[in-house]
Amino acid sequence: MSHDLPPVHHGTVVPLSSVEELLLPSFRAAVVDRVAAGARIAAFFGAPDGPQSLRLCAVLADDTAGELFVAAARVHGDYPALTPDCPQAHWFEREIAEQWGIRPQGHPWLKPIRFHRSYRGGLDAWSRPDGEEIAPGVVEYFKVHGEEIHEVAVGPVHAGIIEPGHFRFQCYGENVLHLEIELGYQHRGLERRFVGGPDRRTIHYAETLAGDTTVGHALAYCRVLETLAGVEAPARAQVLRGVALELERVANHTGDLGALANDVGFLPTASYCGRIRGDFLNLTAMLCGNRFGRALVRPGGTAMDLTNADIDTILNKLEAAERDVAGAVDLLWSTGSVMARFDHTGTVSADDARAVGLVGPSARACGIERDVRLDFPDEVYRYAQIPVATWPSGDVFARATVRWLEIQRSLSFIKEQLRSICEGAVAIEIGPPAGASMVVSLVEGWRGEICHVATTDERGRFAHYKLVDPSFHNWFGLALSLRGEQISDFPLCNKSFNLSYCGHDL
């Protein structure tokens, strides 16, 4: 009883009236079949549809065909969960249960993910009384029983300066049998702040929802507004945006390689990469005055422009930084003791990666060719391709290698783009957003696919706004990578994914 969904092209407005509302069984079959045929869930969420009913909406991405599919269905209460037949829905369904107070029946591990009250007063998927305080992380955990099993709890307060998250290990000696990750300590209610927008604050929410992905999320948000208004940023602005996005990728990947070296106690690369990351951040600051790329990407273009002299300076500094980073990273590959730590540590199989729907470098390190810049090209990436970097082994080494390949390829992209940048304006005025429409915006941030799905009401205000940071897909991949590993290798595996806590918690 599978239902054929009509494809939707990335970067186009979908009138809400054209999204067919399926009956629940056909919705379920359509999603499960489409995912079984190779698509993956880019976003899956509920949106209120009248006082009593909820509209479930799934955005599926078929990477090889470069097409998106939108499926929708109306539910009034509990519904049969998709997770048993489609594992990558599991985190999304936990989110839906928490936000709207309905239970996906048959979900194997239905727990809250952000620890807030449901958006619909009185409804709660776990029947928690209204007045009761909800403390983050205070829930049942998966437990392994046995005389020699011990449990290790790490966080949410950590010894280093990192974000809060709780990790619960079930160990047999030094071996990890199971890791469960509980987040939600940084929930700020961002998705709800978008509703009723766009207004003057919305762009700032987008820029700060995950501070290390400022350009990525700001770009996804601006593409939503531009698509809704039916315009595109001027060509020069598109290049500047692309340069900023790749600089963000290069800076973060460089920092990650240094952090990986630090976690195995290899000092030279750790210290050099820490400094070189700063060099790349400073180049971003030359674009817009902020090292993390704030106030650069704006609806309709960019807020800043570069002079020819600036471009020359950036190119010169880029050459120097590229030489430095090549030297620092080369030390990693040529040091046997480092490779001994990276090889065969924290392996995720390609099948597992596909099943849980990993994105970004974490997926590409399992040999999966999945890159929004290639599969759903937008703006400047339609004219200039960056080859997709993959590595088949799925371990820490693979994740480090993919990062290094991406640094090199992004750097040549940046240089090429800056050398051939066209003249012209960098911003245009954009009109009001189309009403009663839906837009899916995909951007390949440095961690992977960023997905924004906006739905507007009749007046063109956001009726619902769904944010999916790549971390949302990938946290479970980290849990999988620890199966059968040494608990002492957890920090290394964690760093090789380097996921965002606030991007997940929103």
Binding site: G160, F266, L267, A270, Q486
Partner: protein, 303 residues
């Protein structure tokens, strides 16, 4: 025992934290950083001494006794090391064994103080520490037996000064193996890379550091000072064999040993800067190799 033996002992007490500074400075140079002051360990110890301590309600007197007893044990072990041409403060036949087991007492109290907290981290650290030191102990002990056989004595005060240039010429191969074995023990016992990473903030990978996470203030000062003394003790032991300068002039002999210890610290810094830490599973292999080298050095001598 001579009254003047107190001079090298006091020198050890004063200079020990400086060795940590040397290691850190070498690492900083390799990393292209300016690095912390050479005297940082002293600053840290004095800072901690002025602070108050926090005790968890789940801990008992064992937790409080741990750092003090450990420091005391290390101080005692140091009294048995002769250097700079002076006999040790404490010397008797068989102090070789006592030396090793006094260090064992220090470890024992660190471990039970860690277990007393009931924390999963500290339990893991304690289990790792006990496993690794159980393998490292034979390497240290067998090395001492080699020296005892070479110099026909059972006291550190006769054994260590007994090693001279002539001994090196006579049993160079055996002594080289011994020094290699002790270098590994030196790195393992002082929780340096490739066995442990003293700078990491990652609780799950730590060995020694994780056992002392719950200690604070003066207790932690004791631990910090204790570990710098342990570094000095084992360093002086190794330097006595590596740099057998016995001129009879106290000044030159003392300088030679101090130089030897600081050179060891510098080598440690170089090792830490040029290689990554071993995977935890592989650490026992490395320490067992030290044991094998010790056995070999003894075998070469008694063949």
């Amino acid at each position: 025992m001579q009254g003047t033996s107190i001079i090298p002992y006091l020198l050890s007490l004063v200079l020990a934290p400086l060795a940590l500074g040397v290691i850190n400075r070498v690492k900083a140079v390799f990393a292209g950083r300016k690095g912390q002051p050479l005297l940082q360990a002293y600053f840290d110890i004095f800072k901690l001494l002025r602070k108050g301590a926090v005790y968890s309600r789940t801990t008992t007197w064992i937790f409080r006794a741990g750092p003090v007893v450990s420091l005391g044990a290390v101080l005692l072990s140091l009294t048995m090391i002769p250097w700079g041409g002076f006999p040790a403060l404490l010397a008797f036949d068989g102090d070789i064994l006592v030396f090793v087991y006094v260090l064992g007492v220090a470890r024992f109290f660190t471990v039970i103080a860690a277990l007393d907290t009931g924390s999963a981290f500290e339990g893991m650290g304690a289990s790792r520490e006990v496993l690794f030191s159980a393998i490292a102990e034979p390497a240290l002990l067998l090395g001492l037996v080699t020296l005892a056989r070479l110099t026909s004595g059972w006291s550190l005060s006769t054994v260590l000064p007994g090693v001279s240039t002539a001994t090196w010429i006579m049993a160079g191969a055996s002594l080289s193996l011994l020094c290699l074995a002790w270098m590994i023990v030196f790195l393992a016992e002082n929780s340096r890379i490739p066995v442990d990473d003293p700078n990491t903030h990652l609780e799950l990978t730590m060995i020694h550091e994780v056992m002392v996470l719950d200690h604070s203030g003066p207790d932690f000062a004791c631990i910090l000072y204790g570990s710098s003394l342990k570094l000095w003790t084992l360093g002086a032991l190794l330097a006595n064999v590596l740099v057998p300068v016995r001129t009879g002039s106290a000044f030159i002999d003392i300088l030679a040993t101090i130089g030897g210890v600081f050179a060891l610290a510098a080598v440690t810094g170089v090792i830490e800067s040029t290689r990554a830490r071993l995977r935890l599973l592989r650490v026992p292999h490395l320490i067992a190799a030290a044991g094998a080298l010790s056995v070999l050095s003894l075998v070469l001598l008694v063949r």
